[in-house]
Amino acid sequence: MNNILVLVILMAFVTYIPRLLPLAFMKADRLPEKFKLFLSYIPYAVLGALIIPDGLSGIPNSVPISIIVLTVAAIVSWYKNNVILAFVISVAVAWGLQSF
């Protein structure tokens, strides 16, 4: 077995276990209400933490363009709840600004 294969298998293992455990062992209907409330906030907190700070430099080496693009995405999504529309417009803006 070569080194890469060993690395890939070990990486896969340590990546998979945290993904699996809660799904395999947590019983949603037996959780306390407060804990369910806590879990319901997780998606919004995750989105916030994904956008800040990494999204601010989502276009490599260009913080200003990244911020403009995120702002465009936010404005479009505020008026139209349509992920694909926001995606297309924002990516077009990103591409346009970079080619400029």
Binding site: P18, L21, M26, L47, G48, L50, G58, L70
Partner: protein, 244 residues
């Protein structure tokens, strides 16, 4: 007669769940394909083989940690260190799986390992933006299409180099952050105070990444947990969270 009717109905349900999954996965697929191409290209540049690049993407299926691992590999860092770093970076999926499991609609035993394998930042964010309980087939479909795009993008990057002009590739990669924003904003519109949950997590993620021992591998996990705890116990939101 009755039996067939019932089967037809559940079959239709399954197909509509799969189509809904494909639709929701579409922005992820575009973003993943271009980011995975960059990964495939990078693998080629460090003299590894096509099968190595595809192995990484199809067996590990975790974006940021694959780039990190490759980078560490180039710098001659030991396998054990790379694996430890991978664990730290990917531990955030634990909290996502926990949150997802509270919204899944009665998954069958055989579905759980597949659903778990498909949990990424992007698939998690997309499925959780749906309201109410989530049909397991829908969740699996979102992951499946994203996975196919990640794997095929890796192979395409290795074999064909940059098919996509660099500026467009970067823009599509940026598209993943656009996706996050377009999932978050409608929720804020429904329940404005959600913005504080997201902002707190983002700011904590930024600040904590500079704290020794936490660093950028743990900052997201801590930022998310602390923010969710604060709003559960210290500043309970007056309005119900829409998904609850």
């Amino acid at each position: 007669m009755l039996e067939t009717g019932k089967n037809n109905k559940s079959e239709k349900q399954t197909i509509s769940n799969i189509l809904m999954g494909l639709k929701d996965a579409f922005p992820i697929m575009l973003g993943y394909f271009s980011v995975a191409m960059a990964f495939g290209l990078l693998v080629k540049s460090v003299d590894l083989y096509l099968k190595d690049s595809v192995l990484f993407s199809t067996v590990v299926f975790a974006g940021a940690s694959q780039f990190m691992a490759l980078n560490m590999l180039i710098n001659g860092i030991s396998v054990l260190s790379i694996v430890t770093a991978t664990f730290l970076v990917n531990f955030r999926h634990f909290i996502m799986s926990a949150s997802l499991s509270s919204r899944l609609l009665k998954p069958r035993k055989w579905q759980i390992p597949f659903i778990a394998f498909g949990v990424t930042d992007e698939t998690f964010s997309v499925v959780m933006a749906r309201e109410g309980v989530l049909p397991p087939v829908y969740v699996m479909a979102v992951s499946f299409f994203s996975y196919i795009s990640w794997g095929s993008g890796t192979a395409a990057g290795f074999l064909l180099g940059s098919l996509i002009p660099e500026a467009l590739g970067d823009s599509l990669g940026m598209g993943l952050y656009v996706l996050f924003m377009s999932l978050l904003v409608p929720e804020i519109k429904k329940a404005p105070r959600i913005i504080w949950v997201a902002l707190t997590a983002g700011i904590l993620n930024t600040v904590l990444s500079y704290v020794p021992l936490i660093g950028s591998s743990w900052s997201l996990v801590f930022g998310v947990i602390i923010s969710a705890l604060l709003f559960t116990f210290v500043f309970p939101l007056e309005t119900e969270v829409p998904n609850e």
